[in-house]
Symmetry: C2
Subunit: 294 residues, 2 copies
């Protein structure tokens, strides 16, 4: 089968250009730049990379804002105090707290302290609840980016059998919710599979859409996929590759080379869901800015 | 197959007795009675019956509280003002606003005005969000009652294939969420089906558990159910029955007489999910009372 790439990289680039043009217009009209603040506690190397990438992307579209790097020894009280200060700072539109936090800090308490108006990650319980209830809110960036990508390619998902692999709060669970809601994309019959699912391939082989968010390299193999399926690969796994200078390469949760020929559409890794996640965070920040400007 | 009833009526009676004993002890120790206030706007006959039943059940276990009956012409601002007054009244533990509200009132705005600490219906976005994220909160009464019933009968749901029929915010959606979360009951592979699902019987025939919440009388027929399935019937539909003095009888979404012989467990209608819903509301009210007493 001739498959088509769901090109997150190109789509995100186009959306970034739209955001940049809008910001330029705002500034030309004498407006303040939208501003995102990211808080990073401790020295987790992966988190440092993620936060730096988000910050760089935001700067590229003309956002203001910065990264607050706090020591590993920051207490929960100190962190919540800083969150409250940012909540009260009217020149900051969006606030994200990079997870995971050090073990002595309760992430639920910190996320709950973020003002829902600035919760551009969509992790606050109120944001999650509004999403579940189908109300207007900030959607979490990865599921939001996937919905945008399906819309971009005009995929009519109504009535499709969708299987979501993984039940995390930031990807699997919101993804299942959004795809089952009324609308396009949406109106899917959604099955959520996870580590306790028996005979998982039985579900995936029937699926019109598979969203793989398990974090297991190359987990979805060709025999698990039916002809013509649409595959969205959320996995970003680092595997050893001695042929590369870095010694590793990134692979998804889907065995791309084997699976792609059976698909109608498939996201590459990298260049699929990843760029859509970051641009969704930027869209949310611009939305927070505009909501305040009203 | 010899099926077993999931007896909501008997289970709810036992739980009511537990609550009544606890309230009696509280009062004996000089404590205030837990109090639930229900607000009813307008004259919808079904709503009047529901609210009267809830009020009666609460009185039976020794709760205080009452029903505020407001005229159909009540404005949204007036209603929210009343909600705020009850939020601020420390002698009221739980507040429910009976839905549907008259057309000129936005139910989202009213529900959002309820203090999450008194949201014993679990309809506030923050309650819905915490439920979705697996955090401690008030669960909506019907899904909560079903979880309690499955626990009562020690049904080990881990790894079961569960099909939820219906995607409403108060039953189908939270039910799918709870059954897919870690824990017992839980850890199911959950498929949510709805009006846009194609070939719905294909899903139900594979299901170990079916939760039917569509509101269509006798929708689930014997050929849609596999041998040994567990059936939870949320439907309460009134159908004409000239053999009865009232002229009607209540039936579920499941064709009980035909389906029961194929099941391992099944809820009757009435006497299944209905009583569990009301007792769950009472459990939430007692929980709200105790959370405040701490």
């Amino acid at each position: 089968m001739e498959y088509r790439l769901l090109d997150g990289k190109a789509t995100a680039a186009r959306l970034r250009a739209e955001i940049a043009a809008e910001v330029e217009q705002i500034v030309k009209n004498g407006g303040r730049r939208p501003a995102l603040t990211a808080i990073l506690v401790g020295n987790d190397p992966a988190s440092q990379t993620y936060v730096a990438n988000k910050d760089k992307s935001c700067k590229e579209v003309g956002f203001a804002g910065d990264v607050l790097r706090l020591p590993e020894t920051t207490t929960q009280e100190e962190l919540i105090k800083i969150v409250n200060d940012i909540n009260a700072n009217s020149s900051i539109d969006g606030l994200i707290v990079q997870l995971p936090l050090p073990k002595h800090i309760n992430p639920q308490a910190v996320i709950a302290a973020i003002s829902p108006d600035k919760d551009v990650d969509g992790f606050h319980p109120q944001s999650a609840g509004k999403m579940m209830l189908g109300e207007e809110t900030f959607l979490p960036a990865t599921p939001m980016g996937i919905m945008t990508l399906l819309k971009e390619y005009k995929i009519n998902t109504a009535g499709m059998n969708c299987v979501v692999l993984g039940r995390s709060n930031i990807v699997g669970r919101p993804m299942a919710n959004l795809l089952s809601q009324k609308g396009i994309p949406g109106d899917c019959t959604v099955t959520m599979c996870h580590s306790r699912t028996k005979d998982l391939a039985k579900y995936t082989r029937e699926a019109d859409i598979i969203v793989a968010a398990l974090g297991i390299p190359n987990f979805v193999s060709a025999d698990m996929v039916k002809e013509g399926a649409i595959i969205v690969d959320v996995g970003i796994n680092s595997v050893e590759d001695k042929s590369r200078k870095s010694g590793y390469r990134l692979v998804g949760d889907v065995d791309f080379d084997a699976v792609a020929p059976k698909c109608s559409y498939i996201t590459p890794v990298p260049g699929g869901v990843g760029p859509m996640t970051i641009v969704s965070l930027m869209q949310n920040t611009l939305k927070a800015y505009k909501a305040k400007a009203l």
